[in-house]
Every structure is written in structure tokens, then in C-alpha cells.
Symmetry: C2
Subunit: 413 residues, 2 copies
């Protein structure tokens, strides 16, 4: 089964709002075996809305539209839907009751404009929205189905999970779609692809492989649509994929590498800390996004200036004078010192030249030293990162995650 | 002049990637007077690409497509373009030279798959991509123009700024579009909008006001399309806008608030530091993105655990025992201590409950104390932030920037 999404709103076209709803919906639909074949964004304009729906329904039976359901003048989706279905409005008492409840709980007056949200196209079924004021709507006519949702992401998530997915499963006979993802963290997409050429050539037509690169991370995803008759073979190919590039795999599943590391630290009560120069705190920032991290993360330092490296971490001034702050000796000393300072089991240190200025022939922009220290062992690697200041910082952070994985032999699952 | 964008990639439809390119492009096109009327996302499928281009060109003369230019099998945009334009490939020597340069600087082997990126549809003009390996392409046929760009955001930004915008300005007669932007950092969009109702009603038809909200930041943008005959009045209205909400303005121009602050610190040699608990280093992280910041940023600490607050910053254990780490006294002590520790002129401290767990009736999730300390003065404010862990961290960071502006009376321009 195929579907299309139409997102409505001028703010999407002038670059004011980044559309996150449709990516989320695409994933949710995929999980129940509905393939999204197209997403279209258009302005709050009646003719544009009607045209887009007609076009989408000429290709697919299921169309989901988001946005344009607010109480203000520029929201005209309902009007366009009445026109498209050639129907009038009905008043939904359940929506009025919900609005009264919501407004009294917020101690706000229920205005005429708010009440208008209970006027719905007469042929629609209401998809009640407990977390907002604009209900969703379900239209089913001539074997074609259209779902209209508000534009606010939390409301889209709520109505979809609670109303849309169950109703879709009930209404349509859907296939099973399987995904298997893994994360690599150092090798370029083109090199991985060269290594996987044979593997890709041997994939059956029902299984496809996608590459999703971001900085020096590449996610690899296998997708298979399964008929009931067909033997489920995706796990065999997934195993083969993992084996083929085993040394490059950071973790299995569709995971943020920082989250994989943080969960390992939490589970094994490994206290970590960092002393960051060129990455400016990003290594710690990314790890501390994980809920529950406070049990193993006492804190960390950003030591940006030479004086701070000396005073906060006791880096010998002689190292900085003879070899510079951007050096292997300095990175090693930073990692060892910060580990002791915070009484941590493992520490990460970064020092480098993120640019856009400050590079030299011997120490060019993008030169980064990363050291990881644990009891009795400190390792250090140097990298030549390329790209902008932001890219160098991101790539150095990913490189430190890869080094952590290697040094601690962190399992990929 | 109107345009459409087509973004190509299975990852956009299955929800693995959120499309940020098209929002950015929509904004850039708007700045030179090109109105985006539709965005379409489709899969890496030849027929889908060709159909989408045909449909878009039936509505508009200018079509921009992104994605599908990588060296791997699933990238088939060029093949589809050759089919659409009924042309063959040419080899672009300038691209080969660029690829050789990039791969040798990265000490990586240039594979056959990488070299394939110099094969371009014969009727295309090359839009050289200095920051990546896939060049952009410009097609101009029968008064219709199509631009094909890679999918990697930094590459889209680079090629668009350096090649596409200049070429569009040269090729088409575009109106003059003027923009005036300012940044607010604390008041909700709905409240600003209520205060600006009269101002908005008095705007001439040629000038429009847009609200661009993100966490507790709202950017306000005036836009005017100017004929040569028309007197340019946007600056008068911009002045009036600034006056009307003067107390809420953080800075003038389309600027990142962190960059505005960092530039002020650099210009006035104000050394800053931070002691962050719930924001986990994000305050320092955002400020240190500014090139040249090293002259005024010695470093900072993340003090996540109680013990670190006590050991690293000397926060009296009695404060943590009696009032808790999430308290005004603790925030104030953190700010004062870290300022002395790093011999800084100004310091920022954050302590709060970012969630998703750890809240209580007296100290709910979202409760955040932020303290700013300078010589002889420490101020502290408490906030009740809404949203997810990430949203609370982002909002607390923006709140600290607003407090810095107020305490230091930082000019808005």
C-alpha cells in the first residue's frame, strides 16, 4: 500500500518552519507497511490544496494532510476539504465538550474563533485531539482515504498513535515491512560501498540497502517487504552485512552513537569525564543527552586557553612551550589529568585547530589530537579533519566515540 | 518569479532524514525575490524523478532538485536527468582535478566510483562544489531552468551561495526584495503578536511581517518587494517595529544570539566562563562556535554531580543538603565560584531538572535556576521551562543569554 503526505502552510515554503512531521509520519507509516511515495508542501491557498489532493489521489489511495486547521483567518484546509468533497459543515458536540474542558483548565475564555474548531466537514469522521484544540478528520469515499491532521508536531504524534494507526490497521490489509539498521563511524560512504559491492549485488529484489551519511557517521539500513508466503530472510542478510564490514560497525540498530556509549557507561557504571579544547564541550554535551547519565557523569571541563590547561589540569608549561597545546603530549596529559581530577574510570581529551584561522604549515586547520585515558592505559590519535569549523568539531567528536569503542571493546549490541 | 523544489531520496520518505535543505533554500530564494510555491519529496526512482520534474516545470520555470548525486548505486538523479533531457554524459576535467585534489589532501585513494562523479549530463553546466565531491548542475532549455544540487546540507549551502544565487541574479530579471530582521529572546509569539497588532494593521501592502519562532527565541522579519518607482519605506517601519517592542529586542539583524554575545565579549575583551549543570555545557558550546572566541574564553566546567559541585567549585555542602543542588543559593555560589576559578569578568551558572525523570512536586521537571555573576553583582532567576529534555536545555540556554544582555546592558546593534 502506498501513501502521500501533503503539508500545508506558507511557513514551510518561506523557510520559517522545518517540516519534521512528515519525516516522523513517513517512519510510522513504514512500520505498518505503508510506503510513502511522495511528500508535497504547498501554501495556505484553496486552489493549491485542492489541486494537490487531486494529484495525490490520482496516484495513491491514502493521502495524509497536515496543517491549516488553526482558528485564524489564514487556515483554510477545512474550507478546501468541503469544496473538494462537495459537502457542508456539521457541528461535533464531542469537540465542543473537549474545547470547554481545555479552556477552563487553562483559565482562558472560549472565543467564537475557538468554537469554530467544532465545525467539521459533514462527511468526515472526527479524530479527537486530546492534546490540542483542532481535531483530526478521516474521510473515506470511493475506496479512497484522506486523513487531515493539525500542524503542531505533538498533536500530529498524538492523533496518529491513538487514532490514525489503529484505524489504518483496521481498514486496510497491510504487508509487513522489516528494517535492520547499523551505525558505522569512521569509514567514508564510498569506501563502505566499495566493500559492500558484492553483498549488494547478491541481495534479492525484496531487500534494499540504504546509506545515510552524516559527518563521519554512515548508517546502513536493510529494508524488506514481506508477504506471508515468503520466508523472512532479512536477518540472514543483516548478519552477512555485519560480518562483511564487522570492523567498521559501531553499533547495531538505528541509534545515536552517543546514546549507545552513554547507555554502556550507565549499565556498567563506568564514570566518564572529558577535558575538551577544540571540541568545546560537544563530546560531553552529546553524551549527557542520555536520560539517567547523572549516575556516571560527575562533570567535565572545557580548557580552551593555555593558561587554563596549565591551571585547571596542571599540564606542564614545558609541554605547551616546547610542543604546543595542539600536540600528542598535551592531549595525553589532559586526558590523564582530568580522569584523576574527576575520579573517573575513563576520560576523553581533545586539542586541535578548528579554524577558521589559527592554522600553520606544520599545524594546519583540522589537525586534531584525541586522547582516551583509562587506568594504566592512555591512547592518542591524530587526525586531519576537513571542512568548516562546525564540521571539524563534529567529526572530532565522532572520532572520539570511535576511539572509546575500540579502547573499551564496547559490544556493538 | 516562482520556483519549486524537488528533494530526492528514500531517506526523506522513510523518515530517516529531516529535510532542512528545502527550508533553507526557500528562505534564500525569498531573499532574491523568488517565491517558492511547492516542495516535493520523492524516492530515488527514475520514473518518479522524471514525473516530478515534468509536473513542476508545467507550473514554474525554475526547478531546483537536491539529492541523489552520491557515488553509490542508489543515487540515480543524473541518470534520470539524462533521460529527461534526452542527452548523454560528458566528462568534466575540472571535476576530476578537484576530486584528485580533495582525495590527495585527505590521503585517500580515488576510487572508480568517486571518479564517476565527473560524468555529467552533456547539456549541463557544472556548478563546482569545493566542499564536497558531487558537483551541482545547471540546465537551461527552452526558457526553463533546472538546478541539481547534492543532498548534503553544507554542500547545498556552499554551491547555492557561491554559484546558484549569482547565476540566478544574472540570468533572470528579479525584483528587489528587502528584509529587516530582529531577534527577541523571551516573549512568546502570541504575546508579541498581540503587541504588534496595530503595527501590523498599519503596514502598507508591499511590506509583510513574519514570525520565526524557535524555543523561546522569535525572529521578526519585515519583507518588502520594491519597484524602482516606489520609495523605499522599509527602514521607517523597521524603526517603528524596534521602538514598539524595544524592551524585548535582543539584537538587530538575522543573527544567532550566541554569536551576538560572543562578538560583544571579543570586542570588549570581556572574559567569560560558565559552570553548567542542567544545560550540560550547551551555554559554553554555543558561545565558542564564534571564530576568535579563544581570546576571551579561558574555559568552563560542567558540574553535573553534587560531589563535583562541592569539589570543583567549593559549593558549601550545607547549601546542597539544606536547599538542594537545584536552588537559587547553589546557582549563585556556582556562578561566583567559577568566575573566580577562571579569573573571568562574567560567568553563567545553570542548575535545574531537565527530565525526563527526577522531578518532584516542589521541584518539578523544567525548574531551572540561572545565575550570572560579575564583579560586585550576582543575579539569579528561576524559570519553569516546558517541553522535552532537549527543549528544556535549549530554553534554559536562551534564557541565560537574555539575562546576560540585561545585566551587561549589551547594545542591540
Amino acid at each position: 500500500m502506498e501513501a502521500e503526505i501533503i503539508t500545508i502552510g506558507n511557513e514551510l515554503l518561506i523557510g520559517q518552519t522545518i517540516d519534521t512531521n512528515s519525516a516522523w509520519l513517513g517512519n510510522e507509516l513504514g512500520l505498518i507497511g505503508i510506503t510513502l511515495i511522495r511528500k508535497t508542501s504547498i501554501a495556505d491557498k484553496e486552489s493549491a490544496i485542492i489541486d494537490a489532493i487531486k494529484e495525490a489521489h490520482s496516484r495513491v489511495k491514502l493521502v495524509i494532510i497536515t496543517g491549516g486547521l488553526g482558528p485564524t483567518k489564514d487556515d483554510i484546509t477545512k474550507k478546501a476539504l468541503c469544496r473538494y468533497y462537495d459537502c457542508d459543515y456539521r457541528i461535533d458536540e464531542s469537540v465542543i465538550k473537549h474545547l470547554e474542558k481545555i479552556f477552563s483548565s487553562r483559565s482562558r475564555e472560549l472565543l467564537e474563533s475557538n468554537l469554530s474548531q467544532s465545525n467539521l466537514p459533514s462527511i468526515s469522521e472526527t479524530l479527537l485531539n486530546e492534546v490540542g484544540t483542532a481535531p483530526g478528520m478521516w474521510f473515506h469515499k470511493n475506496d479512497h482515504c484522506l486523513i487531515s491532521l493539525p500542524g503542531v508536531p505533538t498533536e500530529v504524534y498524538h492523533i496518529t498513535k491513538e487514532r490514525v494507526i489503529p484505524k489504518l490497521l483496521q481498514t486496510f490489509k497491510l504487508p509487513i515491512v522489516l528494517h535492520r539498521t547499523l551505525v558505522t563511524l569512521q569509514k567514508a560512504e564510498s569506501l563502505l560501498s566499495a566493500e559492500l559491492e558484492e553483498f549488494e549485488n547478491e541481495l534479492p529484489p525484496s531487500i534494499s540497502l540504504s546509506y545515510l551519511p552524516s559527518y563521519n557517521m554512515v548508517k546502513l539500513r536493510l529494508t524488506q517487504k514481506v508477504d506471508k508466503k515468503e520466508a523472512v530472510s532479512i536477518d540472514l542478510y543483516y548478519k552477512k552485512l555485519v560480518t562483511t564490514i564487522y570492523d567498521d560497525v559501531f553499533c547495531l540498530g538505528d541509534k545515536d552513537p552517543a546514546s549507545h556509549l552513554a547507555q554502556y557507561f550507565i549499565k556498567n557504571t563506568i564514570r566518564f569525564t572529558s577535558a575538551e579544547s577544540c571540541t568545546g564541550g560537544l563530546i560531553a554535551q552529546r553524551l549527557m543527552q542520555e536520560p539517567g547519565i547523572s549516575s556516571v557523569y560527575p562533570g567535565s571541563v572545557v580548557v580552551y586557553s593555555d593558561e587554563t590547561k596549565i591551571h585547571e589540569l596542571g599540564i606542564p608549561a614545558s609541554i605547551i612551550e616546547t610542543q604546543g597545546a595542539v600536540s600528542e603530549s598535551c592531549a595525553r596529559a589532559m586526558a590523564e589529568s582530568v580522569r584523576e581530577k574527576f575520579n573517573a574510570d575513563i576520560s576523553i581529551a581533545s586539542t586541535g585547530i578548528a579554524g577558521p584561522s589559527g592554522g600553520s604549515l606544520r599545524k594546519p586547520i583540522g589537525l586534531v589530537f584525541i586522547a582516551i585515558s583509562k587506568k594504566n592505559t592512555t591512547v592518542c590519535e591524530s587526525f586531519k579533519m576537513f571542512g568548516t569549523r562546525t564540521q571539524i568539531i563534529q567529526r572530532a567528536t565522532n572520532a572520539s566515540f570511535w576511539m572509546l569503542k575500540k579502547l573499551l571493546a564496547i559490544p556493538i549490541d
